[in-house]
């Protein structure tokens, strides 16, 4: 599995994750959660665009996509909780690795949102 070793790799993984969640919650029939995921996706695209600081781009280590294996086939309540738990862990893990405060803030906020959904 590819490593999450750059700002772009992390942000793109997050964008794709939220995109997958849009499809997932649409399949479940939860339009509210699908809309929330789509809003996060859109905001993450903005964050990737506006917070990439060319002069402080640094290699990132210690993160791997393999550590965040989502089962989008399980649409049960327990399955949804499991997906949200992994999503929350992903955001918790990556936020401190990003050296741009504005991006870090958004990623931390999304960790909280997913954690809340996992426990809902």
């Amino acid at each position: 599995m590819p490593s999450l070793n750059t700002f772009g790799a992390i942000m793109t993984f997050a964008i794709n994750l939220e995109n997958d969640l849009v499809d997932y919650y649409r399949a479940v029939g939860d339009t509210e959660r699908a809309a929330e995921a789509d809003k996060r996706r859109s905001n993450l695209e903005r964050v990737r665009r506006e917070n990439v600081v060319e002069i402080t781009l640094e290699a990132i280590d210690g993160l791997d996509e393999a550590d965040y294996a989502f089962n989008f086939d399980d649409t049960s309540e327990a399955g949804q909780s499991a997906v949200e738990t992994i999503a929350a862990r992903f955001y918790e893990d990556v936020a401190p690795k990003i050296n741009v405060r504005q991006a870090q803030r958004v990623l931390s906020r999304y960790a909280g949102q997913h954690s809340g959904l996992a426990n809902a």
């Binding site: 490593s3 750059t6 772009g8 665009r49 990439v52 402080t56 290699a59």
Partner: protein, 483 residues
């Protein structure tokens, strides 16, 4: 059939009058992605004439309206952000993150230009003498042009053009023939703005087109970014032809690492500064000066971190270092590494011969480290413009400053330290246009002037910031007395 690029002159995409075209390569895939015309004097003359005609109407347009075009420009650039970034990767070879960072910094120059209604204001004094008022006004000058390099094919052109045109001038861009595609998409976007024809023009080409711009009597001023020998020629040629000129040249940027620096964190940033854009930026870290005890620690940490960088195709998000711009550049860089070894440097990390799966023909040079470099070695003095970092030793702070100030270049220099006193002395004494404190790439934002000292810059007014407004306007003093 490979696409032949056209020039954009007087609001139209037109074919060059030349029969000679230069192939534009993707340096990773080796694919020829387009052919750029070697535009002629006739092409440039046509662009100058279109810009001169446009100037008469454009300068009369209120500055607020001119700035509005930049609002729209910014919106469209944001919309096409990923498209432009991908094109930068495809023609230059840098990573997609680096390309996104470049496009972001380019857009910052558009943001700056949007502020021109405020920034162009000048001052006045009532009753400077009895019953006499005196005011200063800024006026646009005419047709300006830029000759820009391959290493930042989007950002560097955008340093100049937005400010120039919002000041009321008209413009001609001549991008690098190696990387002309970023400007092609930029001009497609500019076309959507529906500005008056001739305000912005694009003329592809190499030396002939550049000479035509510099010698044309209708061009008021030229901005250039490139190597120092060429910058000097540009400066002399433009000066001889009575033009304003700002010519930014090459660099050999030194980084002093003090014993009190946080070595791991400092090296992480230095690695980004040395190998970002495969070392092909005028602010790249080229020489690390390890001071006292820091030398061994910084050398060891640099080797550890640099050898782990993932080299690959820039469009792969996991790539941490892309290609250099061409096979010729690769050959030149590898020759410089060999030169360093012959002169007695220790080759701690050798990036030559690196092969990337799926891109076997690509112009890759891996991260390279030469240590025990001495001040008289060529690799210590001359710009390599590739992913090669030299490490030198200094006994103390004074020795580090002496080494740095001996360089014929003065683009940037940085210090990594936790001592405010050393940081202040460094800022005070080092002869470079851009000083970094605990940051390896000392790149000024769009609202600050960008330019070096010594052989890194030829001219008076730097690019970006308030200097750019001075460069692109003429000040006129009005003395009024009503009798």
């Amino acid at each position: 059939m490979v696409r032949k690029l056209k020039n954009y002159i007087g609001g139209e995409w037109v074919e060059s009058t030349t029969d000679t075209y230069t192939p534009v390569h993707n340096p990773a895939t080796c694919e020829v992605v387009a052919e750029a015309p070697e535009s002629t004097y006739e092409d440039m003359d046509r662009a100058v004439q279109a810009a001169q005609v446009a100037f008469e109407e454009w300068r009369r347009m209120p500055v607020l309206n001119r700035a509005q075009y930049m609002h729209h420009f910014k919106t469209l650039l944001e919309d096409r952000f990923e498209d432009i970034s991908r094109i930068v990767v495809e023609e230059n070879g840098k990573t997609i993150d680096e390309a996104r960072g470049e496009v972001r910094r380019g857009i910052e120059s558009v943001d700056y230009a949007i502020g021109m209604p405020f920034l162009m204001r000048n001052d006045g004094v009532e009753d400077i003498s009895s019953g006499i008022d005196e005011t200063t006004i800024r006026q646009p000058v005419g047709v300006f042009g830029a000759i820009t390099p391959f290493n930042f094919p989007f950002m560097v052109p955008i340093w100049f053009m937005p400010t120039a045109i919002v000041c009321g001038n008209t413009y001609i861009m001549k991008p690098s023939p190696q990387t002309p595609l970023s400007m092609e998409i930029t001009y497609e976007i500019l076309e959507e703005l529906d500005m008056p024809e001739g305000v912005v023009n694009l003329v592809h080409g190499g030396k002939d087109a550049a000479m035509a711009m510099m010698e044309h009597p209708g061009v008021a001023g030229v901005s250039f970014v490139g190597s120092s020998p060429v910058a000097k020629i540009i400066y002399e040629t433009c000066s001889r032809n009575g033009k304003r000129v700002q010519a930014q040249g090459g660099a050999k940027n030194y980084i002093a690492v003090m014993p009190d620096a946080d070595i791991a964190a400092s090296v992480k940033n230095i690695v980004g500064a040395a190998y970002g854009c495969a070392g092909q930026r005028c602010l790249a870290a080229a020489v690390v000066v390890g001071v006292g005890d820091a030398y061994d620690k910084v050398r060891e940490e640099l080797i550890n971190q640099a050898r782990n960088l993932q080299v690959g195709y820039g469009l792969d998000e996991t790539t941490q270092m892309g290609t250099v711009v061409s096979d010729a550049a690769k050959q030149r860089i590898e020759n410089m590494i060999e030169q360093g070894v012959k002169e007695g440097a220790s080759l701690d990390l050798d990036g030559r011969g690196i092969v990337v799966n799926g891109f076997e023909g690509g112009s890759f040079v891996g991260p390279t480290i030469l240590s025990d470099v001495k001040p008289d070695m060529v690799v210590a003095k001359e710009e390599i413009f590739g992913p090669v970092l030299s490490i030198m030793r200094a006994d103390d702070f004074e020795g580090a400053v002496d080494i740095i100030n001996q360089s014929k270049y003065g683009n940037a220099a940085s210090i990594f330290t936790s001592s405010g006193k050393d940081a202040r002395e460094f800022k005070y004494r080092v002869n470079a246009g851009n000083i970094g404190v605990n940051i390896g790439v000392a790149a000024p934002s769009a609202s600050f002037p960008f330019g070096g000292q010594k052989d890194s810059f030829f001219g008076d007014l730097h690019g970006q910031g308030p200097d750019s407004i001075e460069f692109f306007t003429e000040r006129k003093v009005v003395i009024e007395r009503w009798i």
